[in-house]
Subunit: 342 residues, 2 copies
DNA sequence: TTGAAAGCGGTACCAT
DNA sequence: ATGGTACCGCTTTCAA
């Protein structure tokens, strides 16, 4: 049987309340008594019982806010599954998870929502943000004025006093893609990385990691300059068509973002499906279909479930036990999927 | 705020105790009253509070037994990490997880330990077994005589009234390996699967899945007859040496089990490292080193952490909420690792 | 500075 | 068949 506050209280000859105040430094306890109590607790290996604590906290329940942008995209839908799983799980412990979904990127809406959630008594906020100096300032202010713990996820706002970031190591994922590409390409030639926006850091990182790794580690391949499809299948189609006709020896394509269907269509029309390897990102339903049908060779997943689940759990741990994440960067697994695994 | 028994009791004009008996069919309650109570609960979307239940159950705490064989192997050490994580987590909820480690395969010891754990009041047992009719009978008896829920993990005992099996889909992992092999092999030729014991079903399945998939899906490759190294690096070394000299066009090797170092050594001695692709299993420290250094191209992991963690959690869910796993087979993820990811 | 007590949600036992 | 009550471990408030 695990040791309880009551047992410590009896051994120390004080009341449970005093033990509680001593162990958690809540003040109003004689320093010597406190030291004695802490010693006993340490000797007995006291571990607080979560159920007991959760129940006691139910009087003023922990509230956690979640803000997600771009909810209309297939990938974010996957992230939402993790969010809801965490919300359900914590709900059974009496924790309230307040989820706010925002269409596309809408910084003013995010700012308003953050205020609303703080007002509603949220002790922490999980935020799927976007590059924005306004948000950077907002996070800093909430941290300074209210010590509000904030976890960014999926996309980060660096140099911010957030508790941590949960998401993909994009550069490493690009390097991984380079390794895969080299493994499956059977002849020398140019390889092309297509990514989303020039000003989206995460997308750039994927392509950069890929290109640099190709250059430094795989000299039989040459990395063409990155192309941008702006998350648009039609543009990806055009880019692919042009590249395939311009470089007759085109050896492989990495598509870092939405637009995968365009790439596949362009290759199919020229009878190049299966001849020019394609590596893509994200396990959305459409992408998985491409993988199953052989139009794509590998998909790099970013464990979207964890990206929704863990931020909330990390905030809960922080609010419930005071334990902060070990690192400022909590990277989710880079998962490699083939047609056998989706 | 979540709805509680007390609220339902007030609405129904009865006491908390009656609501409890009604909702959980504990008897001793007027059928009409019970129906009314259940209706109210359904309308309000009542979800029991886990913390409350856990605390109430602390009077006669849930005990879960865990039996693990072959603890001396590197792979099982990884599984143990998951076991301990689950034990720690549940320990904070007042659940007692009793872990029994057994060296190598020792069926009599397993039988004794099962008796001991049942005697000690375990409400369920997670078991890492081995092919054995004695264990099959034991599981059946414990099920029939005491309705004891048992979860097998890592290796299964089929046709048994166990709650479920948690582990790898070995056949699918072999097929996945075949797909990878075909993707990275650049020329026609024979490929060789080396596995452990003839009488270990799981190991056979991996090799069979590989060979069959090669035969049916990848005619440019030919699957050589499976070789057996009995988990021994020296034998794997011999097998590899012989195969490499006998088949000058040997195109790839799949090593399904321990002995990977022997394969790598044999290839290195003949200057074939990187020339003949190698795919291996399990993310043990040694294997990860082989991957990092380029002696192995892919490792198939079997999410060893989950293999230790989930059986215990599934038993807990069953004992705590009565919810059984959705399927008799709970497959853990097949993870593909390259040198970038270990 | 300390203790006593109430209460969180659910379970179980004992009266009635 | 039903209600009342004690209790699980912890937090918090109120008295002393």
């Amino acid at each position: 049987m695990a040791v309880t506050l009551k047992q410590i209280a009896e051994l120390a000859g004080v009341s449970r309340g005093t033990v509680d105040r001593a162990l958690y430094d809540r003040g109003r306890v004689n320093p010597e008594v406190a030291a004695h109590i802490k010693q006993i607790a340490a000797e007995l290996g006291y571990q607080p019982n979560r159920a007991g604590r959760a129940l006691a906290l139910a009087k003023n329940p922990i509230r956690i806010g979640v803000i997600i942008q771009s909810v209309e995209t297939p990938f974010i839908q996957l992230v939402l599954e993790g969010v809801h799983a965490a919300a359900d799980e914590l709900g059974e412990m009496g924790v309230q998870v307040m989820i706010r979904q925002i269409q596309s990127i809408d910084i003013p809406a995010v700012q308003r929502t953050m205020d609303e959630l703080v007002e509603a008594g949220c002790g922490g906020i999980a935020l799927l943000p976007a590059e924005s100096s306004a948000l950077r300032i907002k996070i800093r202010r909430l941290h300074e004025e209210r010590q509000l713990p904030i976890v960014t996820f999926n996309s980060d706002i660096a140099d911010t006093p957030r508790l941590c970031f949960v998401g993909l190591n994009n550069r490493l994922s690009g390097q991984t893609a380079a390794g895969l590409m080299h493994a499956i390409v059977h002849r020398p030639g140019p390889v092309l990385a297509i990514t989303g926006h020039k000003d989206k850091r995460a997308m750039q990182e994927r392509a950069n990691g890929f290109n640099e790794e190709i250059r430094t580690a795989y000299p039989s391949l040459t990395a063409l300059p990155t192309e941008y499809c702006y998350d648009d299948a039609a543009r990806a189609y055009d880019i692919t068509r042009r590249a395939a006709s311009h470089y007759s020896s085109l050896a492989g394509i990495l598509i870092c973002t939405n637009g995968q269907d365009g790439v596949c269509r362009a290759l199919a029309e020229r009878g190049l499906t299966g001849k020019i390897p394609v590596i893509g990102y994200d396990l959305t339903p459409d992408n998985c279909n491409n993988l199953r049908s052989g139009r794509v060779d590998f998909l790099l997943g970013q464990d979207s479930f964890s990206q929704g689940y863990r931020p909330i759990m990390l905030l809960f741990d922080y609010l419930f036990t005071g334990k902060a994440p070990e690192s400022e960067y909590v990277y989710t697994d880079i998962v490699i999927k083939t047609r056998y695994l989706v």
